[in-house]
């Protein structure tokens, strides 16, 4: 597929973003008419004001941030493991962040500011475990071995989480159980603020490393000779991707496939220049998660699906398609 031109791509991205925001703000289980939503937005008050400002808008902003952050994290990890099928979920980062977050919640320190920190510790520890496992198997530089190690370590973290929740009697355990399913509800503005504060340094680091990611995609040796400080850059990208994943998981639980499918789709549509890919993945990932969340809120209203269910239902078939495409190409 030939990459889209810059102008058309930017337009499509802008359209997707606007669509997501409009759908996110106007659609929901509370049956507000578009006129009521509009009145609330323009400061006209009315019955919808509380719902729009306290529930829907923070939820849309949270969705934009979580989806965007997961997609950027996935796009960077794909370079580090040299495999377009990598993402924070498959590499075990999400699971590790989840474990850290659950530990914080059950220990009774589940505040919006402490949970991301605990999740970050969990994500970094997981990354270390994944690397140790892959190195022990002699395949630390083989993307496939790393992914396999990631799946194993992620499953282990998941088992620990289940175990902790089963034996914990604390109030935090119930909160954690609901949170774990993955969702954008019930966080509100404090959660949005914490996520933004944690994500910002990670995003800044990755923006500074965008050109280095292009070099690293060529291989470590060529990257070095083209001027990359390979060891330092790899470490920085890992930490940044872990921080982004941790912030997203702490805010919204474990949401799979956004980090995989979104960057991969942008790679197909627009190519592999990470200076374009990272911001595009951020916008598209956020917009798609907001749309998925709108679906989750309305499909079985008044009941609400965890948004992770929606991303999995959409993401798994897309992943299967990408996997086929990828294996077909690498075997030809």
């Amino acid at each position: 597929m030939k990459p889209l031109g810059g102008a058309r791509f930017t337009f499509a991205l802008a359209l997707l973003f606007v669509l997501a925001v409009v759908v996110g703000v106007f659609v929901g289980p509370a049956s507000l008419t578009p006129r009521e939503v509009f009145a609330a937005l323009t400061g006209g008050g009315g019955p919808g004001a509380a719902i729009v400002w306290a529930l829907r808008i923070p939820r849309v902003v949270l969705g934009l941030l979580v989806g965007g952050v997961l997609a950027v994290s996935g796009a960077s990890l794909q370079v580090l493991v040299r495999n377009p099928l990598a993402d924070p979920y498959l590499l075990g980062l999400s699971g590790g962040a989840g474990l850290g977050a659950v530990l914080a919640m059950t220990a009774g320190v589940g505040t919006p500011w402490l949970v991301p920190a605990a999740a970050f510790v969990g994500a970094v520890a997981t990354m270390g475990a994944v690397y140790a496992l892959a190195s022990a198997a002699g395949g630390a530089l083989d993307g496939r071995v790393l992914l396999l190690a990631g799946v194993v370590v992620g499953a282990f973290a998941g088992a620990l989480v289940s175990g902790i929740l089963a034996v914990s009697a604390s109030q935090g355990a119930r909160t954690a159980l609901v949170w774990l399913m993955g969702g954008l509800g019930g966080v509100g503005w404090p959660g949005v603020l914490a996520l933004a504060a944690y994500a910002l340094p990670g995003l800044a680091v990755l923006a500074a490393e965008a050109r280095t990611l292009n070099l690293l995609a060529m291989g470590e040796e060529p990257a070095r000779h083209l001027g990359a400080d390979v060891t330092r850059s790899r470490r920085r990208v890992y930490l940044a991707a872990s921080l982004l994943t941790a912030a997203a998981v702490a805010a919204a639980g474990i949401i799979g496939f956004v980090g995989l499918v979104v960057p991969h789709a942008i790679r197909i549509l627009r190519g592999h220049d990470h200076r374009v890919l990272l911001p595009a993945a951020f916008i598209a990932g956020g917009a798609l998660l907001v749309l998925a969340d709108a679906g989750a809120r309305t499909a079985f209203a008044p009941l609400e699906l965890p948004v992770g269910v929606v991303t999995a239902v959409v993401g798994v078939p897309v992943f299967a398609f990408l996997l086929r495409r990828w294996t077909a190409r690498s075997s030809s």
């Binding site: 993307g143 500074a208 490393e209 060529m218 291989g219 070095r224 000779h225 083209l226 001027g227």
Partner: protein, 270 residues
């Protein structure tokens, strides 16, 4: 006198404690405007010498300098503006075009933030033309032939506007024509732009045709460093490669060698 572009002297490299050194007091220089070929049998230490010279392995003893400065004191970006390297194997993880690939040669100049300017675009255009790959600009590198891919990587190295080129086995998988084309390209760059070129090669005859000097490495030491006709002596080569060879002088003065036939007794392969 200007300091040489590359200088290795008394360099010793050991990859592990208690292991025999992979490089054992090796030294040679490469000056501007000359092609030096690093030759020797498998495992002689050619690649290690290259890695030492590029600062990729620490030295146990000796010096490795680029333009008169210890190579390990160069920052990667600085070094990439002085030395362009074409490594042996390179497989991009994602499909990229020729133009994107050559553009990466400018990153060392632009750094993380600066947008590419007119000077960068001019350097890219010149590099594409010089390596004769301008017509391939839009192609994905994954669809190129071996010879085209090598030329694209030389173009990317040229876009770095370096003082020196280093090529590690650049023609290992190329056929005769593409091998000659690549060496003619490098020879032209050295002649016309005054670059220094260091080429690691297994192909002694091609090296003898193009290089001003051959540095013959054996057992981690430099056993000969001279013009090709003085390095390619049958007795020395037989001792280094463990196989009898004869040499012949071409009308233009270059020396070419050919291996003798010799039966190998069953079980006699060493």
């Amino acid at each position: 006198m200007d300091s040489p572009v590359f200088e290795l002297s008394g360099a010793t490299v050991r990859y592990g404690r208690g292991l025999a050194p992979s490089l054992d007091g090796a030294g040679f220089r490469v000056g501007a405007g000359e092609i030096v070929a690093l030759v020797g049998p498998n495992g002689a230490g050619k690649t290690t010498a290259l890695r030492a010279l590029l600062g990729l392995v620490p030295l146990e003893a000796g010096r490795a300098e680029v333009l008169g400065r210890p190579v390990r004191s160069w920052r990667p970006r600085e070094l990439a503006r002085a030395v362009g390297v074409v490594v042996q194997r390179e497989e991009p993880a994602f499909p990229v075009t020729v133009e994107e690939t050559v553009t990466m040669g400018r990153y060392a100049h632009a750094g993380p933030w600066r947008a590419l300017g007119d000077a960068d675009r001019a350097a890219i255009r010149r590099a594409l033309d010089r390596a004769d790959v301008a017509g391939l600009r839009e192609r994905l590198v994954q669809t190129l032939s071996g010879g085209e891919w090598q030329r694209v990587r030389v173009a990317r190295a040229l876009a770095q506007e370096p003082r020196a080129l280093v090529l590690d086995e650049p023609t290992a998988s190329l056929d005769l024509r593409h091998e000659m084309e690549l060496f003619e390209l490098v020879a032209g760059l050295v002649r016309e732009e005054g670059l220094a070129a260091l080429v690691v090669s297994h192909h002694l005859n091609v090296a003898a045709r193009f290089a001003g000097r051959l540095v013959l490495v054996h057992g981690g030491r430099v056993v000969a460093d001279d013009v090709p006709e003085r390095v390619l002596e049958p007795a020395r080569l037989a001792a280094v490669f463990g196989w009898p060879v004869a040499v012949q002088r071409l009308p233009d003065g270059t020396v070419q060698l050919y291996p003798e036939r010799r039966p190998v007794a069953p079980g006699g392969l060493s």
